[in-house]
């Protein structure tokens, strides 16, 4: 497994507890690359998992966690932490790798992904691993839980922020739109959703399976503040989160345009890589291309 210059976890903790960037913005692309390496290695070792929808998430998760989240890697139960729910639970290798990079999961544990007895289940399991905010994996459920967290934050006069990452196929679920209606009702400006708009789902391309266009217009019509960004541009993602926080009367949806399988050319936009592991040769090629 690739060696990596580990972060100083004490420093991460001090900064992250104050919602300060844990690394300078210029270093985010390097961190993103390292996360992609881990995603490939984890899924290759497990010989199962979802590379396409994990790779598309890398900039989103690394940018938000390293630049915009208030958290304590050694205390997942801290009441004042910002929360991030990965509603598209099958993308969890990207989340595990990011959390491990930040010191919240031991690095050796990454290689136990999907093994019997591992805390790193194929889809997030909060009872086993409290640093994941919600058990997900049945698509469509995360945003409702995020609404509840945002409501609780308001009731308790806490200033934590709630993030929720959704898949583009996932928003075909009716429950997503029930939550989409509820969040503006209570003007939940402490809630930011991010759509990983990678144009693919399991059986094929979203536009062929059940089109969601025009996604941005749909969320706007539901009274969300909507920002469209290039989901592989960390600066744009960070700016969008800043923008979201200036809005005080409604939740924000960041429509992040991404590429499924991003970073590994033979996986990009090829839906056969939704849910299968690379073999030895493909793993080598992927790691070489990523420069791992």
């Amino acid at each position: 497994m690739a060696e990596r210059n580990p972060l100083d976890i004490e420093e991460v903790k001090q900064r992250a507890r104050k919602r300060e960037p844990v690394i300078p913005m210029e270093q985010v692309p390097d961190a993103v690359r390292a996360i992609r390496c881990d995603i490939i290695e984890m899924i290759a070792k497990a010989q199962s998992g979802h590379p396409g929808g994990s790779l598309s998430l890398a900039e989103i998760l690394v940018t938000i966690f390293s630049q915009k989240m208030r958290f304590d890697p050694s205390n997942p139960e801290w009441e004042d932490r910002d929360r991030l729910i990965l509603s598209k639970g099958h993308g969890v290798p990207a989340l595990y790798a990011t959390l491990s990079w930040l010191g919240a999961i031991p690095r050796e544990e990454l290689w136990t992904l999907r093994q019997a007895g591992s805390r790193l289940q194929g889809h997030p399991a909060r009872a086993l691993l409290p640093v994941v905010e919600a058990s997900t994996g049945s698509l469509g459920q995360g945003l409702s839980i995020a609404v509840g967290m945002a409501l609780a934050g308001r009731l308790d006069h806490k200033d934590y922020h709630v993030f929720c990452v959704l898949g583009d196929g996932e928003i075909q679920e009716g429950q997503v739109w029930e939550a989409a209606m509820a969040a503006p009702k209570w003007k939940l400006s402490n809630l930011t959703a991010i759509l990983d708009y990678n144009k693919g789902q399991l059986d094929g391309f979203v536009r062929d399976i059940m089109d969601i266009e025009s996604a941005a217009a749909k969320w706007r019509a539901f009274n969300w503040h909507v920002i469209e960004v290039d989901g592989h541009d960390p600066t744009a993602i960070a700016a969008a989160v800043d923008d979201a926080k200036t809005v005080t009367d409604r939740p924000t949806m960041i429509v992040a345009h991404t590429v499924k399988g991003k970073g590994v050319s033979f996986m990009e936009n090829d839906m056969s890589w939704h849910g299968k592991a690379p073999n030895e040769e493909q793993t080598k090629a992927a790691l070489a291309e990523l420069g791992c």
């Binding site: 093994q115 889809h123 399991a125 058990s135 994996g137 196929g169 996932e170 059986d203």
Partner: protein
């Protein structure tokens, strides 16, 4: 390696050979599509996994890709059925039965002629983990007043059950595995609603099994016979209606019944068998299957952990008989 186990009808399990239940089911849909123009197929972005996509390729006009929207798929199927179509709808068992109340009202209470197929049942799916496992689906579906519940044991039975469902009028639920399974039937086998099937006769213990564990139960019976324990193995593909008469008849002979299923021990085959025996012929029963959340792991690891493999079933059977002996 376990030695081959002979069934009463002469069929021998080949331990090295497993067959795809999903594949056989998907091919059966294609064959049925050729002779039944009223057959329509729906899926919710899992057609490559459930194998309903085979039908979609052959009959694109009669295949409806509904996206990741199971409730809408169920309602749409009911509408199609009310207008003379015979819809077969598909998703993972957990996701489709997860929309239970839609099934309860739109499918069951309308007495809708809809066939629901849930795949990827139990801990046998392996690495994806609990969120993708159908582990309580039978408990829910069996509770509805008019929904028949089927669980084939192998590819041959999956095909035959699909053929049966094509001609059946009314709501139905069938659960099938992700993983390949042992073949326990020969090609001429025909599924019959409400009928259990004695795959092996014995006198000391009745094993009532359903789904993937049937093959393992036969192999365990073979091993137990080497230990001087004579085991009767019943395959119960029709879980509702259940062949209570056959179970009671076997219980009269053996005096002890153990159920084996890749499903929660609450609400599934084990519960159904207990209900029948309580009314017909009470004997000691041991329900085996899932008692807690399933998790990620290989299929083999999961079957070992939940004692659904040959070792686990053998072990459970021995300790069950031991408990009975000590009480006597």
């Amino acid at each position: 390696m376990s030695s081959a186990a002979q069934t009463t009808n002469g069929m021998a399990i080949v331990p090295e050979q497993k067959f795809s239940m999903r594949g056989a089911y998907g091919k059966a849909l294609v064959e049925l599509g050729k002779t039944h123009p009223e057959l329509v197929v729906l899926d919710a972005d899992l057609s490559s996994s459930t194998k309903s996509g085979l039908f979609g390729k052959e009959f694109p006009d009669r295949f409806f890709q509904m996206g990741i929207a199971e409730s809408n798929m169920i309602g749409t199927a009911v509408g199609l059925a009310s207008s003379g179509k015979k819809p077969f709808l598909h998703s993972f068992a957990c996701f489709v039965v997860g929309r239970f109340e839609v099934i309860k009202l739109a499918v069951a209470y309308n007495e809708s002629n809809v066939a629901i197929t849930g795949t990827h049942v139990g801990v046998g799916i392996g690495e994806d983990g609990y969120s993708q496992m159908g582990t309580e689906d039978l408990g829910m579906m069996r509770a509805l007043p008019n929904v028949i519940c089927l669980q084939p044991a192998d590819d041959v039975e999956a095909r035959s059950a699909a053929e049966f469902l094509m001609d059946y009028e009314g709501p139905s639920y069938m659960r099938i595995t992700r993983q390949n399974v042992y073949r326990v039937h020969d090609e001429n086998y025909r599924f019959e609603l409400g009928r259990g099937e004695v795959l092996r006769s014995g006198t000391d213990l009745t094993l009532v099994a359903s789904g993937a564990p049937v093959g393992y139960s036969l192999l365990a019976a073979e091993r137990l016979s080497g230990l001087g324990i004579s085991v009767e193995v019943i395959n119960m593909a029709s879980i509702r209606p259940l062949d209570g008469e056959l179970i009671a008849e076997s219980a009269r002979k053996t005096g002890a019944v153990m159920t084996v299923e890749d499903h929660s021990v609450r609400g599934g085959l084990g519960s159904a068998v207990c209900e029948e025996l309580a009314e017909r012929y009470p004997v000691p029963v041991m329900r085996t299957g899932l008692r807690e959340f399933g998790g990620s792991g290989t299929e083999a690891d999961n079957y070992r952990i939940h004692k659904l493999d040959v070792d686990g079933i053998t072990d459970n059977a021995r300790s069950f008989l031991e408990v009975i002996r000590n009480k006597a």
